[in-house]
Amino acid sequence: MPILSLDKVVKRYPMGQTEVLALKGVSLTVEPGELLAFAGPSGSGKTTLLNIVGCLDQASEGEVILDGQRVSGLSAADLGRLRAEKVGFVFQSFNLIPVLSALENVELALRLGGQPPDRARAEQALVDVGLADQLHRRPNQLSGGQQQRVAIARALVKAPKLVIADEPTANLDSVNGAAVLDLMRKLNEERGATFLFSTHDNLVLSRVNRVVRLRDGEIVADERVSR
């Protein structure tokens, strides 16, 4: 069974008196364990697509099925529960909570995921991303690469079915960017979690197994890459 399936998904945004068509009937199937990147120029619909598959936003038309559950028509609260249970996010700007330590940031994801606080599990998640000696540092005491590793640990600690990484290397130098991508690829191989990236970065494209190219709200290419 596919982890994600999109059928003729349309997204319209009101803009003044008119509407902007951000996605024009996108259909796509993603199998469990895929490492997939959405690529395309700005305005192509990558972010809109990630928002919809990540349950941050709803499609205007079409059907989205995540891990066997129909997403279309769910309330904001139900979407929130679905995100907490099945989706992990890694953001371009890390979006860590600055008043919490690395460990507390990771623990927070467990709590919000409706799981009991589990310090050992949160610690292990940070050990897995190579931050065993940075557990109690706050985000402002960590480098950009380390912050993104915390964000990855935070996304993965609750063992989500789907990890969405929105331009995860955009704020990192090439060395840190490559290290973060290698880490995500390793976790993808070890844990079988499905990773969806949105990117312009060739570094990302060179490490994924599938590249879906978008232009003006439509899929123009779907390339599988064997590595």
Binding site: N51, L56, G80, F89, N95, V99, L100, L108, G113, D166
Partner: protein
Amino acid sequence: MSFLFSLALRNLTRNVKRSLLTSVAAIAGVALMVLGFGMVDGLDENVIRTGIDTQSGHVLLRPGGFDMEAINNPIDGLEPVPAELLAQLSAGEGDYTERLLFDVKLIRGPDGLRATGLAVDPERDAKVFPRDKWTIDGALPEGRQVLIGSRLGRILGVAVGDEVILQARTSKGAQNALSVTVSGLVTTRSPAIDNNTVLMTLVLAEELVRAPGPSQIALRLNHRDDAFTVAPSLNGLGGWRASTWRDESADILALNDIRRKAIQLMVFMLMAIAATGIANTLIMAAYERVREVGALMAMGMSPRQVQAMFVLEGAALGFVASLLGVLLGGAVNYYYATVGIDFSKAANVEASGFAFDTMFYTNFTLGPLVGGLLFGSVVAILASFIPASTASKLNPADAVRAD
């Protein structure tokens, strides 16, 4: 909920200076509330106790036909105390004392001052009106002696052992004068006595004004609240009217109520400013943390939890500010409740009509402290709802990528 509360507390430490500045109005409002109410309640208690201890006792009886409004301390038409009233007083709870008040002129050489003559049985009177706050330079009066309020004596330049003349109108309207010796000068901390009273025995007053009976009977009970049952039982007996200590202090207590309302108004205004500050700070925090809120929502935090996080942040800010206000107002209040404020220098002849202890103590009780803490916290919680609601309505898709 506990992790939301913990997160809210951490968020308060992001910008400590801003949190402190926001708290200033709330601290001031709660401190004013605690101290202001402590002062007014202390003033109430001062007036009540001083009135009871120097003027009214717990129950004050006056002859029914005695017209208090006619002139000061009228003595016309006084009669001996009816036997049935005396019998009831003797059989009832507590101690009583008969007092005769009249206008008198105190003359020393070429100088003279108008004063209030107070005639009592010194031994019996002490059981109703305690003298533990009295300081007597000299002795209590006997025979043809008078005890003069210390400030009155100072103004007239009288010393212990001096001869003075008492001039007064008798109950029949004739003028009378007696030469008496000053047995002592008394400081009671009550301006009404210290500034204006000449104390003497009933026997001497009888010789001076020839009144056939007292103008008042004051009664001291085991507890002051007993007055509310005893006074009605005595009222009308032998044609005498009975009033409680509360009736006697009613005018000044009503003035205190006005003071209390003025303080309430000031507290309300300060807390309105505090509420505006808290709401403003939280709105700023909500806009500064859009991306964080977006990330929390992306991780599954519900709009209700976002709202709770901001309300808890406001509540924590309000609680901490209220606690500081309670500590500040409480500490100042406790100091003045313990050490007191000496108003003796400020108490002048004009204030002589009021029963007021010049050593003023504020009232320190737990009620205003708890009330201040609750009030400040509730105001902060109410002020937090609008910013909390603003934050909870953020669209997570936009919020996670906000600039």
